[in-house]
């Protein structure tokens, strides 16, 4: 993809960012953006710390640019099993670690 190409990336409902591929080092906004994609809240100190560390680490990852094209000789096969009902966790067991349950269901936050 050429550097000039922009594309739209949908994040959470109602939020859109225009993103450009570039080699510019990570800044705080970029860290916040990725944290949002990953659903991890960060405090401001963490954002600053991560921005500095990510710059170092990503610069190190740039060494991968020198990796030659390699023929991958994977001998991979799909492993399938019959689609049959088998014993699993009971409903009680499956719910046993949930913070809250209701009428035999997991209780989650609002989907909106």
């Amino acid at each position: 993809m050429p550097d000039e190409t922009a594309h739209t990336e949908t994040l959470t409902p109602g939020l859109r960012h225009l993103r450009y591929m570039s080699d510019t080092p990570v800044d705080a906004d970029e860290v916040r953006h990725v944290a949002e994609l990953a659903r991890v809240d960060l405090d401001e100190d963490e954002v600053e710390e991560f921005a500095a560390q990510f710059a170092d680490i990503l610069e190190y990852f740039d060494a991968l640019d020198e990796v030659p094209e390699v023929d991958r000789e994977d001998e991979l096969v799909n492993v399938m099993r019959a689609d049959e009902v088998r014993e699993g966790l009971t409903q009680e067991e499956a719910l046993s670690n949930a913070a809250e349950t209701e009428d035999g269901f997991f209780k989650g936050p609002r989907v909106s």
Partner: protein, 423 residues
């Protein structure tokens, strides 16, 4: 003072008789134990009690083992020192001012200190071999697919295997015999581990064994580590083995490739921790994304957040080809280099760790420096190969580990070679 080798100390006796009767075993805390808290070293899972056993735990119980507790570890296996645990660092029993290595530091420390006869660890990029080397015990990272991962809380599933840590090569091999073999609940397991007798291979016979030494994995090592390493090779030579140097240029890209792949897989695997079905709840305020992001802020420590974010970044549109696709190329390249090296060698040897154990706290501020310490162990995971770390002398009173790498399903060969190092 306690070494803090265990997160949860609880004894689970077995009613069965078998090869592990009378043996006490520490189980790394990312391996599910029915009814016994399994935290992965994370606050996220502080109260998580699995409703089922991992396959390897079932096999331990069937073999008559007594589980003595859940061993401390870097949070979700992400670390080289056991200092990223939310339950405090484990101390190295050899020198309590030093780290035990990681991420299976609690497992190795428990065995080295005699708090357990044996232990299970997991190895994604060196997490069994590193702490085995730093604590002066034996650890085996099996061939990918030899041991079932069912019930292992996933960090980077294309790289990780469960494996044994023990005081001697023969005991480690015997524990591997118990846990190896196919499992219908893990489709990546293979038939090769069925009815294994790796323990019998610990006969110390290296007459005619050919050892390749990848120069890239030795040159950068600490001088004292290098001296111990060459002494061990000379000792093997005296017992009838021969060695030669080989070059594996791909290994210089292995750390970058490993971290891109491991972080990418981690960002996907750890997406399940949203605080709804298990783990720390983010409450019910705001919409679900707010609640999930809050649960993950509170539940995860810095190193875990760092890896999830970097993995998310490496997989995001516009960067996928630059990082993830190139890392997969590097992985294939590393495999080819190993294949070529094994054309002229039965096993490959290197120092397990290029450095002696760090001082506690020494490496926490600089994640990249910590990643670089994994240079000799990560190529093995990228190539899905088996490797063992066996004690090979010391430097300044601190243990040095010798790593012996085998071809795919060559566990017997590395066990045999490592047992000669103990002679």
């Amino acid at each position: 003072m306690s070494l803090n080798a265990f997160i949860t100390k609880e004894t689970v006796e077995s009613d069965d008789d078998g090869p592990l009767s009378g043996k006490s075993i520490a189980v790394k805390d990312n391996i599910s134990t029915e009814g016994l808290r399994t935290t992965c070293g994370s606050e996220m899972l502080e109260d998580y009690v699995p409703p089922y056993d991992a396959t390897v735990v079932e096999r331990l119980k069937d073999a008559g083992a007594t589980i003595v507790g859940k061993a401390n570890m870097d949070e979700f296996g992400m670390g080289t020192t056991t200092e990223t645990s939310a339950y405090g660092p484990t101390k190295n029993p050899v020198d309590e001012s030093r780290v035990p290595g990681g991420s299976s530091g609690g497992s190795a420390a428990a065995v080295a200190a005699g708090e357990a006869d044996l232990a299970l660890g997991t190895d994604t990029g060196g997490s069994i071999r590193c702490p085995a080397a730093f604590c002066g015990v034996v650890g085996i990272k099996p061939t990918y697919g030899l041991v079932s991962r069912y019930g292992l809380v996933a960090y980077a599933n294309s790289l990780e295997q469960i494996g044994p840590i023990a005081p001697s090569v023969e005991e480690a091999a015997a524990l591997l015999d118990v846990i190896a073999g196919p499992d219908e609940r893990d489709a990546t397991t293979r038939e090769e581990g069925e009815d294994s007798n790796f323990a019998a291979a610990a006969d110390g016979d290296v007459e005619g064994l050919t050892i390749g030494v990848p120069t890239e994995l030795v040159d950068g090592a600490d001088e004292g580590v290098k001296a111990a390493f060459w002494d061990a090779l000379d000792e093997l030579e005296a017992q009838g083995a021969e060695y030669h140097e080989v070059s594996m240029p791909s290994t210089e890209k292995a750390v970058a490739a490993y971290y891109v792949i491991a972080m990418s897989e981690a960002s996907s695997n750890l997406a399940r921790f949203d605080g709804v079905r298990y783990g720390k709840s983010g409450g019910y305020e705001g919409n679900w994304n707010d609640a999930f992001a809050r649960a993950r802020e509170e539940g995860f420590g810095s190193e875990v957040k760092r890896r999830i974010l970097l993995g998310t970044y490496a997989l995001s549109a516009g960067y996928h080809d630059k990082y993830y696709a190139k890392a997969q190329d590097a992985r294939a390249w590393v495999k080819q280099d190993f294949d070529a090296a094994f054309e002229d060698a039965d096993v490959l040897a290197s120092p397990t760790m290029p450095v002696p154990p760090f001082e506690l706290g020494e490496s926490l501020d600089d994640p990249l420096q910590m990643y670089l310490a994994d240079a000799n162990t990560v190529p093995v995971n990228l190539a899905n190969l088996p490797a063992i770390s066996v004690p090979a002398g010391e430097t300044d009173g601190l243990p040095v580990g010798l790593q012996l790498i085998g071809p795919k399903f060559g566990e017997e060969t590395i066990v045999r070679a490592a047992s000669a190092v103990e002679n």
